[in-house]
């Protein structure tokens, strides 16, 4: 399995894991927690996709993270130890650390989302929500089908117009006009086409009964074990997070970092994709 064992678990288990990972990463700016979630998310993404795609996706969201980090440190003079001052801008050690923590939090969330995109493919999403939201989930998959169709239609419309009119004025307004005409043609054509699709769906019994899914996922013992572990860890973490990190403050002076039991449960929860790999040892 290229994507690791965890991706083969029931989609509900994966969904719960990612929901927990993303929510907890969002919830705390405690430095140790932030570093832990970054490390685990990064490690999982490297495990899923390899080092090069990992670096590429990190590079893609660096500007946003730097912007957020700067915003937090540049305009905040609440810290006690001044590093640098220039007019209205002052950078303090505490402000810089807070900016780093918020930036790190954002990095972690984005990394978890990248992992989510790898593991929770569209078919798993449809499997989970297809029964509860039949119309919307059907629409999402139909739209995904219609996009390439629109693009290829767009090319053929462009080609036929080019063949009919011969030469184009390459000015800006000419291009805009052509784009508008193409969009109009595509909208009209698409609407008329879609009615045919709808009729064909009705003829095949769409809407006559509840939707079923092409189910490939079953609840085995391993699913129940991991689900139970995850729920227990989520509850434990929620309690320990509130109790433990409440004492950490950035302003005016940063608190000392102490050992908390919350670190252990947090690492266990975030490390779940790696923990399930232990199953391989049994064989």
């Amino acid at each position: 399995m290229a994507k690791g064992l965890f991706a083969t678990y029931h989609p509900a288990v994966c969904m719960l894991f990612f929901l927990a990972a993303i929510c907890f990463s969002f919830c705390t700016q405690h430095p140790v927690y932030v570093v832990m979630t970054c490390v685990f998310a990064g490690a999982y993404l490297i495990y899923l996709k390899g080092a090069r795609p990992f670096l590429r996706s990190v590079g893609a969201f660096i500007p946003m993270v730097v912007f957020i980090g700067l915003l937090n440190s540049l305009f905040n003079s609440a810290g006690a130890s001044l590093l640098w001052r220039w007019g209205p801008f002052s950078i303090t050690v505490e402000g810089l650390c807070y900016g780093l923590a918020v930036g790190g939090m954002l990095v972690a969330v984005l990394l978890w989302f990248s992992c989510y995109n790898e593991v929770m493919t569209e078919d798993k999403f449809t499997y989970l929500f297809g029964k509860r939201m039949p119309t919307i989930s059907l629409m999402v998959s139909m739209i995904s089908r219609w996009i390439p169709r629109m693009v290829s239609r767009g090319h053929s419309v462009y080609d036929s117009q080019e063949a009919l009119i011969g030469c184009y004025d390459q000015s800006k307004s000419g291009k805009v006009k052509r784009g508008l005409r193409m969009a109009t043609v595509l909208a009209g054509l698409g609407m008329e086409d879609s009615v045919q699709t709808a009729d064909s769906m009705c003829a095949r019994g769409y809407g006559s009964t509840r939707r079923t899914a092409y189910a490939r996922y079953k609840w085995h013992v391993r699913e129940y074990v991991v689900l139970g572990l995850l729920i227990a860890l989520v509850l434990a973490n929620a309690v320990l997070l509130v109790v433990g990190t409440g004492s950490f403050k950035f302003y005016p002076r940063m608190s000392n970092i102490e050992f908390l039991w919350g670190y252990v449960t947090y690492a266990l929860m975030l490390g779940m994709p790696f923990l399930v790999e232990l199953e391989r040892l049994k064989r």
């Binding site: 937090n72 540049l74 119309t135 219609w146 996009i147 291009k175 595509l186 609407m191 879609s194 009705c202």
Partner: protein
């Protein structure tokens, strides 16, 4: 129309007002965990729209306008690659709301952001983008049904304002969720960073909207009449 649909339809305008106010209040009071709370609030705000769409009496052909308009909006980014400044997303969502009603407009807007993020990457911003773009479609439907968007230039001005509204909502979310200690400096930096992009897309939206302001509604009216498209309660009147 079931009771659930009616209840959700009542909730829609309430949610549209409550959410931005909640966001402002959260920022004002500097309450903790703003990032997660505001994201959750956006997801909650999407619920009444999606539930009432889901439970409404729509046949297969009634959901087609949303599918076609959404696909067109997402594909537009690819089709219009030769003219990078023009992103037809806003214009198409506004047209969807204007021609097919405010609920269709909301769903078109939010599905456009959901689906285009499948290609461009999901993130914590997805719920807010879905809400803000849905709002654009909803407002155009609400104003359009009162006949306020019949004139070419009123649509143009509306589109211009909507681009800034969308940018404003997302920038405010960045500010509330990720910036601690708001002051004049950080507020100006956040809104200032987006002002050039917003202006370019606002102008592009007007350039796109004004020429199609009359032709698209006429075209869709004809198709709606020809194929009897639309939810049962709208169909009778039009």
């Amino acid at each position: 129309m079931g009771r659930l649909t009616r209840m959700m339809r009542l909730l829609e305008p309430i949610v549209l007002v409550v959410l931005p106010v909640l966001m402002m209040a959260w920022a004002w009071l500097e309450l903790p965990n703003a990032a997660i709370v505001t994201s959750a609030a956006a997801i909650v705000a999407l619920i009444p729209f999606f539930v009432s769409f889901e439970s409404g009496s729509r046949r297969a052909r009634d959901i087609m306008p949303v599918i076609v308009m959404t696909a067109l909006a997402v594909a537009g980014r690819l089709i219009f690659a030769p003219v990078p400044a023009i992103k037809p997303v806003y214009a198409i969502v506004i047209m969807a709301g204007l021609c097919f009603g405010r609920e269709e407009g909301f769903i078109t807007g939010s599905l456009t952001m959901l689906v285009s993020n499948i290609f461009f990457g999901q993130g914590p911003w997805t719920p807010w983008q879905m809400f803000a773009m849905g709002l654009v479609g909803y407002l155009s439907g609400a104003l359009g049904s009162r006949g306020l968007l019949n004139h070419r230039w009123s649509i143009g001005i509306f589109g211009f304002v909507m681009v800034y509204l969308y940018g404003f909502i997302l920038d405010t979310w960045t500010l509330v969720g990720f910036v601690n200690g708001m002051n004049a400096g950080s507020i100006m930096a956040t809104y200032g960073a987006g002002i050039i992009t917003n202006t370019v897309s606002a102008i592009a939206t007007v350039v796109f909207l004004v020429p199609i302001a009359h032709s698209w509604p006429r075209m869709f009216r004809r198709i709606k009449k020809k194929y009897q498209i639309g939810p049962a309660e709208y169909r009778a009147s039009s």
